[in-house]
């Protein structure tokens, strides 16, 4: 019943909610040791960026990855200024799902998005994002906009919805504590109003490069250079690196890059044994990380590492990223029929967690983790 009480308290304030239905996460934590070194932070200030919270271990600012279960394994969330590298599973089913969860979390929190892809138009990717399961259900949100009843009956309606809502959602913890991360319904699409209300930038590789252009030899593949310049432009123009002091409201830029390293980006690392003689991908990652460290952004990259034959290269890429998570799905492998794994869709390997501002990191004690995807929940279990 404590759940109902707190949700009731939330509902009253939400009566006049507009597009971003989730409440902003204004905390009273002081942000110690901010990652953004170039800003005018001379001392600790109150954090007021939606959708972020400071880490309990080192005061690092964290954002949610969109999956509360993964947030827990990564020590509370993804640190702002770092790269989350996801090693794709063989058929790119679950890694693209994680990618979409990350972007959907950005929309729900009102962050700015930057989506880069070589094989799919970013607008299409955004259309396919899963619908968030919000505190007051989406249907109730629609009704609020249309009906003009008196506040008391509004509250009654909300309480009625509350009771109707409780058995439907499979909650592990009370909803009020998951302000930081949200649950998503993988079978439903995100409502169009949320997409239109959010700010996003898309980078679709075939649009940005014209194939007839004569490319002068330089240190990176043409596609990578364009992407880096694009990202740097957005960061600079929208003031994510603190260069624009008159921006009142600080926000986080969520960058998502899909299928990095695949042949569609013009990189031959996946095709040949000794590919990447120019070390394009590693240089790209290095400069990208440099950009992220000096701005309020977080990045998710999915990479088809199962296609890379040069294992030493994967070790280099792992060393150059901050957090690395590998997904292994059971589809098509002999593990699908293994009785040990019959409840799960695959394994998730946390390969690396960064030690930021600290000597130790939050490694979980358990290393064998399996995941399963239900309609409304993506659980990770031991």
């Amino acid at each position: 019943m404590a759940t109902v009480a707190t949700c009731g308290g939330d509902a009253v304030g939400v009566g006049s909610a507009v597009a971003t239905a989730s409440k902003s996460n204004v905390t009273s934590f002081q942000r110690r040791g901010p990652r953004v070194s170039g800003t005018n932070d001379s001392g600790p200030r109150l954090v007021s960026i939606t959708g972020t919270r400071p880490s309990v271990r080192n005061g690092q600012l964290l954002v949610s990855t969109g999956l509360p279960a993964l947030d827990q394994l990564l020590g509370g969330g993804l640190a702002v200024g770092t790269v989350l590298l996801i090693e794709e599973d063989k058929y790119n089913i679950y890694s693209s799902l994680l990618f979409k969860y990350f972007l959907a979390e950005g929309i729900v929190n009102g962050h700015t998005l930057l989506v880069a892809s070589a094989n799919e138009d970013p607008a299409n990717i955004l259309q396919e994002l899963p619908a968030p399961l919000l505190d007051n259900c989406k249907k109730e949100f629609d009704e609020d906009v249309y009906n003009h009843k008196t506040p008391e009956s509004n509250i009654k309606m909300k309480i009625a919805w509350r009771y109707q809502l409780l058995p439907k959602m499979e909650q592990i913890r009370p909803v009020s504590s998951s302000r930081f991360g949200h649950y998503y319904d993988a079978s439903k699409r995100i409502p169009q109003e949320l997409i239109e209300a959010s700010k996003w930038h898309g980078f679709f590789l075939p649009e940005k490069i014209s194939p007839t252009l004569k490319v002068e030899p330089c240190s990176l593949t043409h596609g990578y250079i364009k992407l880096l310049q694009f990202i740097q432009n957005i960061i600079y123009e929208e003031g994510f690196d603190g260069s624009n002091p008159q921006k009142k409201q600080k926000n986080i830029l969520r960058i998502g890059i899909q299928n990095l390293g695949s042949p569609l980006w013009g990189d031959d690392i996946c095709c040949t044994e000794n590919g990447d003689s120019g070390h394009n991908l590693t240089k790209f990652l290095y400069v990208l990380r440099g950009l992220l460290r000096t701005s309020l952004s977080a990045c998710i990259i999915t990479m088809p590492t199962h296609l890379i034959q040069n294992k030493a290269f994967i070790a280099h890429v792992t060393n150059l990223s901050d957090t690395v998570v590998g997904l292994e799905s059971f589809i098509g492998s002999e593990r699908e029929t293994n009785p040990l794994y019959k409840d799960y869709h695959g394994l998730i390997h946390i390969r690396q967690i960064p030690r930021l501002n600290n000597l130790v990191c939050d490694e979980s004690d358990v290393k064998d983790l399996g995941f399963k995807l239900k309609r409304k929940l993506f659980t990770i279990e031991h």
Binding site: K283, R289, T294, A315, L356, N357, L359
Partner: protein, 266 residues
């Protein structure tokens, strides 16, 4: 600096040896705590330190340094610490063409470059200032880490040349120390990394090797540290001395104990 590690290495900031190359390597675990140790150690020993930090930002080292008792911001302001922040400089050198050669100039080149600009940066940073007695004892070069240079496209030979030049200048000419960190890829075959690691192992006076436990992850024992003292220039009339300890990293220090003697086990 970790007092227990000082005891194991038999050094204190007051009477550390000079003219030495120390090699830190890690295999299957993160050896960056050793870098923090040496950084704070040499700052406390009142040395002039040039830190080439290629993998993390300045604030990261600063915050950990404060836990270990040194203030990097102040050290940088009074000239004791010269800090090359790799990530930030990479952004600068990549997006704008520089007039004079930048230490990380190789990022702009298509073919494999060399580290001459980086060496010149180090040499200018550590050369003794004649005017005004700054009073630093001896110069120290710290690099974190060299494997990043390999993954950015430089050959192992170029990196070995760079270390050779640095040793000649810092260790021989200026009687200082050099400390570098290299990742060991272990069972993954990485030829360039192996060449680099073997080449450096033969040149160094002290090798600190942090390894993960062979049995896997453990919450109470984070890994094993092998210490090897060598004398590369003299003939091996006396055998190289080697010690092995296990360690657990805590918030502000690292505790070492003999193998199997972890407090969790006893």
């Amino acid at each position: 600096m970790f007092p227990e590690l000082n005891n194991l290495l038999n050094t204190t900031p007051d009477r550390a040896e000079q003219g030495k190359l120390t090699l830190l390597c890690d295999a299957k675990t993160d050896g960056s705590f050793l870098v923090h140790h040496f950084l704070s150690f040499y700052l406390k020993a009142n040395c002039k330190v040039c830190f080439v930090a290629l993998i993390q930002s300045f604030s990261h080292y600063n915050i950990v340094g404060q836990k270990l008792g040194v203030n990097l911001t102040m050290a940088r302001e009074r000239g004791q610490l010269v800090f090359l922040e790799g990530l930030k400089s990479a952004v600068d050198v990549f997006f704008q063409a520089q007039e004079k050669p930048h230490p990380l100039q190789f990022l702009r080149e298509a073919s494999a470059g060399n580290l001459k600009p980086l060496f010149e940066f180090v040499r200018d940073a550590l050369k003794p200032v004649d005017s005004g007695a700054a009073g630093w004892t001896y110069p120290v070069l710290l690099v974190d880490d060299l494997s990043v240079l390999l993954s950015l496209g430089l050959g192992a030979v170029a990196v070995l040349d760079f270390i050779h030049y640095c040793r000649a200048t810092v260790c021989w000419e200026l009687k200082g120390n050099v400390v570098v960190l290299v990742h060991d890829s272990g069972d993954v075959e990485d030829e360039e990394n192996d060449i680099l690691l073997n080449g450096l192992s033969h040149q160094s006076h002290l090798i600190l090797r942090a390894e993960g436990l062979a049995t896997g992850f453990c919450r109470d024992v984070h890994g094993q540290l092998r210490i090897l003292w060598r004398r590369p220039s003299q003939s091996t009339s006396q055998r190289d001395q080697s010690l092995t300890y296990q360690y657990k990293i805590q918030d502000r220090s690292v505790s070492f104990f003999a193998k199997g003697m972890s407090p969790a086990v006893l």
